[in-house]
């Protein structure tokens, strides 16, 4: 019942290999002794939005957090198999985690702006990289805020604390922060789960416009959202990749009955 077999992998259907930006190969992952990801293999294309769906606890966040090695913070983890970003293994011992994280931005489920000004929030990734030219920073702030559709709302209060923004604004600020340093990939872990429909709508529009620049992976529990924003969808269950294909296909005509049950809400 495993979909991970290469012959079945939907990834095979996509032609040029350099289009496959994130490649997961025979990947398994353990927290201590409990395995939460089982032997997954699939590829995510460049400048497309890939959605991860699946019931709670099936390992979506864990997989996503492997892509920028955020799980390194947790003691006692280990993995087998490999994940490659742009053809390079992210577990290569010679690779610096910091440079990986510069290439892979992340937006979290709960908005988490720094207790600094709006301006400083956005330029943070540049500052830690040692860039501090005023004109450059100003330009980055404007560009990031414009791409995250926040510029008009905050352009007059850039020096105010970011904590004075509304929830939806903060989440868009976090997106602006994540894209400030021009990463190649943007990981989003349930970015809209704490937001109201209006803010959610804005962020979905944002994802649409961002995919021209970035390769986006988004975790969501909202089927409509997955259907609206993503090009490809992966369905996970109990740590296994059940089905991975064009979003339209997953929602209209899935191959596996489990997938159909889940997307139509008959699951469980």
């Amino acid at each position: 019942m495993t979909t991970a077999a290469p012959s079945e992998s939907p990834a095979q259907t996509i032609s040029s290999p350099d289009e496959q930006y994130i490649q997961v190969k025979d990947f398994s992952f353990w927290y201590g002794s409990s395995q939460v990801i089982f032997d997954q293999t699939f590829d995510m294309p460049k400048q497309k939005v890939t959605a991860f769906i699946g019931p709670s606890g099936c390992g979506k966040s864990t997989l996503l957090r492997c892509f920028n090695r955020m799980n390194d913070l947790i003691d006692g983890i280990h993995h087998t198999g490999d994940v490659q970003v742009g053809g390079e293994s992210i577990f290569d011992p010679m690779l610096e985690v910091i440079s990986l994280r510069k290439r892979v931005g992340m937006v979290f489920q709960k908005y988490n702006p720094f207790p600094k000004s709006i301006y400083e929030n956005i330029v943070y990734s540049l500052r830690v990289a040692g860039r501090s030219k005023k004109s450059e920073l100003d330009e980055v702030v404007e560009r990031s805020l414009r791409s995250s559709a926040l510029w008009d709302e905050v352009k007059d209060r850039l020096q105010d604390s970011a904590l004075g923004l509304s929830g939806g604004q903060m989440q868009r600020l976090c997106i602006a922060r994540a894209i400030a340093n021009q990463p190649e990939i943007l990981l989003m872990d349930e970015p809209c789960s704490a937001l109201d429909p209006v803010a959610t709508g804005k962020i979905e529009e944002l994802i649409h416009s961002l995919k021209r620049q970035f390769t986006i992976v988004i975790v969501t529990h909202n089927m409509q959202q997955a259907a609206r924003v993503s090009d490809r969808t992966a369905f996970f269950y109990l740590g296994k990749l059940i089905e991975y294909d064009e979003t339209q296909k997953i929602f209209m005509n899935p191959e596996k009955s489990q997938t159909e049950d889940y997307v139509s809400g008959r699951f469980g």
Binding site: R101, K110, P115
Partner: protein
């Protein structure tokens, strides 16, 4: 009994309502105790500054006393009928006449009490207050001004003012130019002593030479014959050259210095003499007449004629004097400025020292160390250090800072290592440092990493601790270092090898480190995981995350720790007695003579001052209100320092307000 409404279910009464009252009672008890304590301190403390009326008390045996009432209390011993009579504790002043300042008088013995309008209280430079009726002023030129003459008051006030002026001028000269003069003189004197110490064989002759020099300088100019004879002897010694010539040079420098400063010395002495040249003759209430230098009376007032405004002004004036002046007469009179200043400097130094230690330790403990059994053990050990009696820290400070580091700074190691083995150890240290640095930077060489991150971190920290200890040991044992103050040590005058404000601050910093560590750890733990992850996801390193995100967010918690540490440190006395506090030292640890910071100096401290006044004073009765006043000031000082820290903390809180995490 109130009737409960129909359908009221007793079980619906919220459970635990009782405990609200219990909590309120607990708080109330606490507040009452604190207010009670403050009240006792303030009420007793202000007595010192508030003028009290002076009574003329006639006793049954016919004697008369002029005194103010200090206390009205029940007698300790019961009368025959088993009754406790009441007695007054009276302040009579005039210690020089009576040999004591206080008297207890049975209230049954008193025939009459009245307030004589024209009695005067004079505060004197020595021997406390005098309560008297003036007779006359005997001026320096022999003229007298009788007390009933119209210009007595004006003349007396003029003398007091002139004396105050002269005192201020003399003080200015003594502290300024003459201070520099004494320092230079002392240096020459030290050099002479050193010359003698270094040449024990010629010591006798050198001493003779010195004695000759002193004799010559003492001779007046008309004793030419004797002088030339002595000069010849002196010259003969000088001609022996070498150290004798050096001695002569020093003597010559001393002579020139004396010549240069002679006018100032004379001037200062003249000013001081001018204070003593006019005399006040006065009569005590029992009829005895006494004389006292008019200039040594600091101020006078007629206690029974003061209006309410006068009393308030009197209070303010005396309070200010208490704050701003040096102590007099074994600390029982005058102000406590040096103690305030000493406490302030010590607490600040302590805060400066304790912050980096405590904060860095807490960062490592919370952020870097893997949270295993060992880390937990270290944490428990650190927390328990807070419970070690403070005197133990005093003993440690004395042994480690004063006798260890202090005498090393003064004179190098007692028993330095041989050069050869020292160099060998130096090589070991160098290898160790290189290894540690290479290992720590392993990330940056483009080789395969061969140690896991946490193991590498532990290895690096262990190695750096070993390197640090070895470095300290090698510095301490250095055969090439002989101390910065070895000259003075030769004369048995330790500089840092004795208690001082620096060592006291470091000792207290050590004592309060646990407080800061605990508070900082709590603050670090309270920084939400979300922002840390966000920072790392932005490509920040762990240290950058700590420095730019975690530290600012926890700064207010760290300052809470500092506030607690200051409160504990500022009020501590026991360890200070071992590491640098003394009873009286007018020189401050910060002043205008280079190098401005004199952290090796001993200092006065409010807490110790309280102990000294209350339990070591020759006249503890007189000192008692001062004890309260000093206590009050200590509390105020701690509050002011804390308020400073609290203001900074609130500023930081506003800046990093973290409502939305």
């Amino acid at each position: 009994m109130t009737k409960e409404p129909k359908g009221f279910d007793k079980r619906m009464r919220p459970a635990g309502e009782m405990y609200v009252w219990l909590c309120a009672m607990g708080l109330a008890a606490g507040i009452i105790m604190v207010i009670g304590l403050l009240w006792v301190i303030v009420a007793n403390g202000v007595q010192v500054f508030w003028p009290r009326p002076v009574y003329e008390v006639t006793l049954k045996d016919g004697s008369v006393i002029a005194a103010s009432i200090v206390e009205d209390r029940e007698k300790k011993v019961a009368e025959e009928g088993g009754q406790f009579a009441r007695e007054y504790k009276l302040f009579t002043g005039n210690k020089d006449a009576y040999g004591r300042q206080f008297r207890y008088v049975d209230q049954n013995e008193i025939v009459s009490m009245n307030e004589p309008a024209d009695i005067i209280v004079g505060e004197r430079e020595g021997s406390g207050q005098a309560i008297f009726y003036p007779i006359e002023l005997i001026l320096a030129d022999g003229k007298t001004v009788a007390a009933d003459s119209p210009d007595f008051d004006a003349t007396f006030q003029r003398l007091i003012d002139e004396a105050a002026d002269a005192r201020a001028k003399a003080r200015h000269i003594d502290r300024g130019p003459i201070g520099g003069y004494s320092a230079k003189l002392k240096k020459i004197y030290l050099e002479k002593r050193l010359l003698q110490k270094r040449n024990p064989d010629e010591d006798k002759d050198l001493q003779a030479m010195d004695a000759l020099f002193i004799q010559i300088t003492k001779l007046s100019s008309d004793e030419t014959e004797q002088k030339s004879e002595l000069m010849a002897q002196y010259q003969a010694l000088n001609d022996r050259g070498g150290i004798f010539a050096e001695m002569a040079v020093l003597n010559e420098r001393e002579r020139l210095l004396n010549e240069e400063f002679a006018p100032l010395l004379v001037q200062s002495q003249a000013l001081k003499d001018s204070i003593n040249k006019n005399t006040l003759r006065y009569r005590l209430i029992d009829g005895t007449e006494r004389e006292y230098a008019a200039g040594k009376i600091l101020l006078t007032y007629q206690p029974n004629q003061l209006t309410a405004i006068d009393k308030v002004l009197f209070f303010i004036g005396h309070f200010w004097m208490f704050l701003s002046e040096d102590p007099r007469e074994a600390n029982t009179e005058g102000g406590i400025f040096p103690a305030i200043f000493g406490t302030f400097v010590m607490t600040l130094l302590m805060s400066i020292a304790v912050m980096p230690f405590g904060v860095l330790a807490a960062i490592y403990l919370r952020e870097y160390a893997s949270q295993g059994l060992f880390t937990q053990a270290v944490r428990v050990a650190v927390n328990n250090l807070a419970g070690v009696p403070s005197i133990v820290y005093g003993v440690f400070g004395l042994g480690f800072f004063v006798y260890g580091m202090g005498s090393w700074i003064d004179g190098g190691a007692d028993d330095p290592m041989a050069v050869a083995s020292w160099s060998l150890w130096l090589v070991v240290l160098a290898v160790l440092i290189v290894a540690t640095v290479l290992l720590a930077q392993e990330d940056y060489w483009k080789h395969r990493r061969w140690l896991k991150d946490n193991i590498r971190r532990q290895t690096v920290s262990t190695l750096s601790v070993i390197a640090l200890i070895l470095l300290g040991f090698l510095i301490y044992e250095s055969p090439f270092f002989h101390g910065f103050f070895s000259d003075r040590l030769l004369l048995n005058e330790p500089t840092f090898g004795t208690g001082g404000v620096l060592w006291a601050s470091l000792t207290l910093a050590l004592m309060t480190v646990p407080v800061v560590v605990v508070a900082t750890e709590e603050a670090l733990a309270a920084v939400p995981r979300g922002v840390r992850e966000a920072s790392l996801a932005c490509g920040a390193s762990k240290w950058q995350t700590i420095q730019r995100i975690v530290m600012p967010a926890s700064a207010s918690g760290v300052l809470t720790g500092l506030i607690l540490a200051m409160a504990r440190g500022a009020g501590e006395v026991a360890p200070l007695m071992l590491v640098g506090v003394i009873k009286y030292v007018p020189e401050l640890p910060l002043d205008t003579t280079a190098p401005f910071f004199h952290f090796e100096r001993k200092f006065m401290h409010l807490g110790f001052h309280i102990y000294d006044l209350g339990f070591q004073s020759p006249d503890s009765e007189a000192a008692k209100p001062m004890v309260f006043a000093t206590t009050f000031l200590l509390i105020v000082l701690v509050i002011i320092l804390n308020l400073g820290a609290i203001l900074i903390r609130d500023h930081l809180r506003r800046k990093y307000a973290s409502g939305t995490f």
